[in-house]
Symmetry: C2
Amino acid sequence: MNRTQKQIIRALMAGPSSYWRLIREQDGHLASFTQEIKDMFRRGLIKYHNGYIHLTPEGEMEGHNQGLSPLQPLTCPVCAGKTVTLQGSFSRILKEFEKIVRQRPPARAEFDQGYVDPVSTVARVAVMYQRGDLENQDILLIGDDDLTSIAIALTGMARRITVLEIDERLVEFIALQAREKGWTNLSVYRYDVRDPLPRELEGQFDTFLIDPVETLPGIRLFLSRCALSLRGRGSAGYFGLTHLEASRDKWHAIQRLILSMNFVITDIIHDFQEYELEREGFINKNYPLVQKSFGPLPVPDINWYTSNFFRLEAIARPDIPEQENVPAGRELYFDDEAYATLP
Amino acid sequence: MNRTQKQIIRALMAGPSSYWRLIREQDGHLASFTQEIKDMFRRGLIKYHNGYIHLTPEGEMEGHNQGLSPLQPLTCPVCAGKTVTLQGSFSRILKEFEKIVRQRPPARAEFDQGYVDPVSTVARVAVMYQRGDLENQDILLIGDDDLTSIAIALTGMARRITVLEIDERLVEFIALQAREKGWTNLSVYRYDVRDPLPRELEGQFDTFLIDPVETLPGIRLFLSRCALSLRGRGSAGYFGLTHLEASRDKWHAIQRLILSMNFVITDIIHDFQEYELEREGFINKNYPLVQKSFGPLPVPDINWYTSNFFRLEAIARPDIPEQENVPAGRELYFDDEAYATLP
C-alpha cells in the first residue's frame, strides 16, 4: 500500500472526511489521488455517504493491518506550519492588505488564476523580510494575481517593486493602488512571459517572486525570465510549487533545472500557501479533477488547494537555459498532471 | 554591503547583542560571519563592550543608509519555526524522552558530537509522522548521538528501528534502553560509516535519518550508505544541514549530489534543529570559530548552533555514487568551512 493510500486511511480512521479535506491530508498529486480513491472504492475500503467519505469495516481492518492509527494533527495551530506569524508591523500590513484586496478583480481561469489567501500572501513577505530579501531591495514579480506587490509596498521597506502581468485588469488595479497610495517605487507593466524580458530589466533586481504555472516548460520559462533580471551571486528568488499538480518526478526535473541555473534551494516550506479557489464555479467548470473523480463531487467545503514555498539563492550569475520551445498555446498552462487547470 | 552584514546591522539596530545571538540572526556560514564581523570592527560600524556588540553612531548611520530598520521578530513563537508542535501523544513522548536523555553519555568532540535539544529531536519524529514515514516503517539511523531512535521507539509506531553508531558508549546506552523498555524492534550495532554497509541491510528500509558531518566527502559517504539501505521509489530520508559550517556553494554541491542519486528534496525547514553544545568547554577547546574571532569570545549565552532539516524522497531506486576516495582521517569531519568542529 502506497503513501497516499496510507495517508487517506489514517485520516479516515480519525473520522469521515470530505473529498476536499482528504486532499489536504495527503502528499500525492491529484492525478494519483484520484486514482487511489477509485482503487479504494473498488476494493471496498471506503464508501461515500451524504457528501462524506467513510472507512468501511474492511478499510478499518486494512488500516490496522498496515499499522496505522487515527491521524493526529501536529501542524502548529498558530502559524499553520508557515514558520512565521504576522506580528508587529506585519499585523497592521495584513489588515490594510485585506481591505485593499476586497476590491480586486475576480480570478480568471484561462490565466490559471486562483488567489492565495491574504495571510499566506503577507506571510510570503514576512519570510522575504526574515532572509534579508525585502529591505532596500529591488524586487521583480512576473504574474501577480495574488497582489503580493501590494503587500510588499505596504511594508514600505522595498526600494523598487516592478510587476510584469499579462492581465490588463490586474495591471490597472495595481497601478491604481500605487497612484492612490503614492507608492512611487511600484511600477506595473503588461507583459506576456512568452515575450523576451525587456532589456532594461536585465540584471536589475535583487529578488524575484513568482507563482508560476505548473508545467515544466512553463516553469522553465518563468525561472529563465526571472534569472535574467537578477544582479547575480546572493540574489534570491521565491516561488510556489504544488505537490497537487506536480508529481515528485516533475519536482525532480524542476530542481535539476534550478541547480543547473546556479541557484541553490535554501527553503521549502510545506503547504505554505492556501488558495481561495472558486467553490460552486470549480465544480461547474468541470476541471479534470472533477471530471475524472469517482463520481459527482460536492462543492468544496474548505480551501483545499495549497502550495509549497521555495526560496532560491544565486551562487553565481544565473545561467539561463536555451528556450528551445516556448509554449505558444495552452501547453504553457496544461500538462497531464494539471487537474485543477483548464485544458 | 552583503546580506550577512545587513542582517547583523538590523539585529544591532534593535539593541546590543552577544556574539552568539548575532550568529542566530544571520544566514551566512561561520567562516564568512567571522570575517564580516572583523570587517565591521575595522570600519568602525560596531564596538565591543561588556560582552556585548553594539552599533556605533557610524554603524547606525550605515544602517539607515542601507534602508534597514530594527529587526522585527517574525518567527512563530509557538513552534519556533519548526512547523509542528508536540501535541497529543507527542507531548507525552517529549516528557519521557527528556527523562531518558538526562542519563546519556556526554558528547565527544572527536566524533563531531553535539546534541540536538529534545524538542527538536521529537519534532523531527513529528515531521516523519506527518509525511507518513513513521508508522509501520523500517527506519535506519547512521550515527545517533541525538538518540532520535529512542524518540521513535517511544511513539510505538515504527515497525523496525536499526541504529548504526560508531561510539561504543551510545551503542550500549541505546541497547540498554531497548532492553529495559522491551523495545524488541530497536537494534543497535557498532559501525564506522567508512566501512561498507552490511549486505543484509541493503534494500531493507523505508526511511533513513542522519545528522551527518558537514564535509562534502562525509555527506556523500553518509548519503550513499543510507541510499543503499532503502527499498526504492517512495522511500524517504531526513538529515540536518547547517548553514553555519556549509556555505551556499557547498549546499549547491550537496543538492546536485542528492538529485543525481534519484532523490527529490521535498522539505527544507530553516533552523529547525537547535544544538545544546558545550559552553565553557567550547571556548576552552579553541575551535576555529573561537581562534579566528575578532578577540577573546565570552562563554555562549544561548544555543547558537542550529541546522536546517531536509526531507528527501526517492523517485526511483537510488543511484549510488562511486566512493572514489573514502576519507580515512580527520578530513571526514573537517574542511575549511568547519568552524565548530575539531581539526
